[in-house]
Assembly symmetry: C2
Homo-oligomer: 356 residues x 2
């Protein structure tokens, strides 16, 4: 682990994974479950999803200690057809519940061509792209929807935060090019990014949040005094609502007033809902022609004429792809304040600190 | 048909449907196909989708006369699994091809729980919401994606229009409340709205389009000199790309540089792609509990606290629902300039003018 400036500390992936797994085992998760969660959380930091990786560990631990997460869940299918299932997560860690849902969706898509698997009684599961990317290795497309774990978004024209940042993610296989991976909150900024700004002591740009008087809010430490803004005004409000209906209501999971704010309540089960749609390219005439067409499109876009002052046109997911490759050498960049938090957590749990 | 001001003429639905069907039969469509298309085009005007209804008739007729649309297509399934199909439209009218795709998806979803049906060799099919709404009568959810028929959107940071307005639509059943129906271009404005502004002689607000120097473009008659802006900046670019990959590339339909601009080229087959995902509520524990939850959510949102100056909070699709009900009495509001166009078309085709 090396320090490049006063604010960023680089952690080796294996060290980070080991630290997270040890902490989770200490609070009661079985070894294999802790490993699974730690691997996914580390992947989040390694790809630059710094609002959804190790930064969440203290909160997860606090929630487990408060009894708000079931460390020995019986994850099971409660509804099933050829092309769908609903998985009840029994209030287990979201990473475990959603991983299971994606596995089932991949298996079903192999037969039916397409499959939708949703979750109920799940929990926060980290960055959406982790799950949308899982089908890629099987030459399948992944589309992922989730209900956020705290309502930060009012309906368009409203003041009451009845909606969350409800993200959409998509993983699209390519051939020689990196896959196209979109991961976006339906708000201008995800709340995890607000938290990361606060942790780094930075201000937010105007347009991320407004306060209850409708004025721009740029201080992330005052985030609780305002709410996020949807992309495209009423359109983003509509998207957040539809995503919530698909990821939450459809599976019998929380949506609207039922959403538990996991930032202030560590005990009440969140009944989080997520949904993955998996599409098997083999059913559509084979992966080869599709991936070739994606490669062509990616290159057409990347090499197209740029606006003055623009150095490069990026494809969705390309920057994360580049970062993942670079971080494989350097390790994951963690804010110094986060490492302090992790050190305090280690002391409290009586485990070794993150290796440095 | 009554004239309320110098610019709007109200047409009875049955008159409009009859006029459109007669025109389409005159240029070679079989009676039943012409009726089907005319019914859907009239529905578009009746729900206020004025960029996608009768306004498109002169263009469709021109395209059919130029040989750019097959009036006697053999629409057939080319790939099929339990939960998916790809429909080849044989370059027929898009309304016919997509209607067939939705019918197949509904039938498959009834067994498999969920079904995805895409199209290739289709054509422009009118407003996305028409198709997302079709599964509602079966207590099913519809999600619809389409590749637009002209590229008006560059990648984020770019100048070359490689993407279209690629819309997303969703139809979500409710109980006593109107269904939640989202229909949105992934651009700030749909190109149909730009055309409607031009037809009405109105200016566009800033933020819809920019010119090739990056300056706001507000005159819709100069639309060909600029391009549309995506919602949420890079996020809308990502969404437009993913929608295009799902609706176009996946089915072997046009995407990127292959998209034919049907505003300037009436002959080349467009190879338009669309996709519908249908989700049967019966597979997820039954429609009753779901629709009850949607009703509650809709009311919570509608009755929630409003920002100062906001008279009402609307749900997606609620304004179209209200307009559809009002227009059932008054008829469809058509711009006077559009009625002039339709009169000229009638004269040219030797059919009776729209009844007044």
């Amino acid at each position: 682990m090396a320090t490049t400036d006063s604010k960023t500390i680089w952690a080796r992936a294996e060290s980070l994974r080991h630290f997270i797994a040890t902490a989770l085992v200490r609070v009661g998760l079985p070894d294999t479950d802790a490993d699974r969660v730690a691997t996914l959380m580390t992947e989040a930091d390694m790809q630059g999803s710094d609002g959804h990786g190790a930064i969440r560990l203290p909160q997860y631990v606090q929630r487990i200690e408060a009894g708000g997460i079931n460390v020995r869940p019986e994850i099971r299918v409660v509804h099933e057809r050829a092309a769908m299932a609903v998985v009840d997560g029994d209030n287990g860690m979201g990473h475990l519940v959603v991983s299971r849902a994606v596995e089932i969706a991949i298996a079903k898509a192999r037969d039916a061509g397409v499959a939708w698997v949703g979750t109920r009684n799940s929990n926060h599961a980290g960055p959406a792209s982790l799950y949308a990317r899982m089908p890629l290795a099987h030459d399948m497309i992944g589309l992922y929807f989730a209900v956020g774990n705290a309502n930060h978004l009012p309906p368009w024209g409203g003041m009451e935060m009845l909606l969350s940042t409800n993200p959409i993610a998509a993983g699209i296989p390519a051939g020689d090019e990196p896959p196209v991976v979109l991961d976006m909150a339906t708000t201008v900024a995800a709340y995890g990014k607000v938290k990361a700004k606060a942790k780094r002591g930075e201000q937010m740009p105007e347009g991320w949040m407004i306060d209850r008087q409708g004025r721009p809010l740029t201080d992330p430490t005052r985030a609780s005094e305002g709410f996020l803004l949807p992309i495209g005004g009423h359109k983003g409000y509509g998207l957040a609502l539809i995503v919530g209906l698909l990821a939450g209501t459809l599976q019998g999971a929380a949506m609207g007033r039922d959403v538990v704010d996991f930032n202030v309540d560590s005990k009440t089960p969140t009944n989080t809902g997520q949904a993955i749609l998996v599409i098997d390219l083999a059913a559509f005439g084979g992966a080869g022609p599709f991936k070739g067409a994606v490669d062509t499109l990616v290159r057409d876009i990347r090499e197209s004429e740029r606006l003055p002052g623009v150095e490069r046109i990026w494809l969705p997911g390309e920057q994360s792809h580049t970062r993942r490759a670079a971080n494989a050498e350097s390790g994951a960049p963690l804010a110094a304040a986060l490492v302090d938090d992790l050190d305090r957590l280690a002391t409290r749990l009586g485990i070794e600190k993150l290796e440095r």
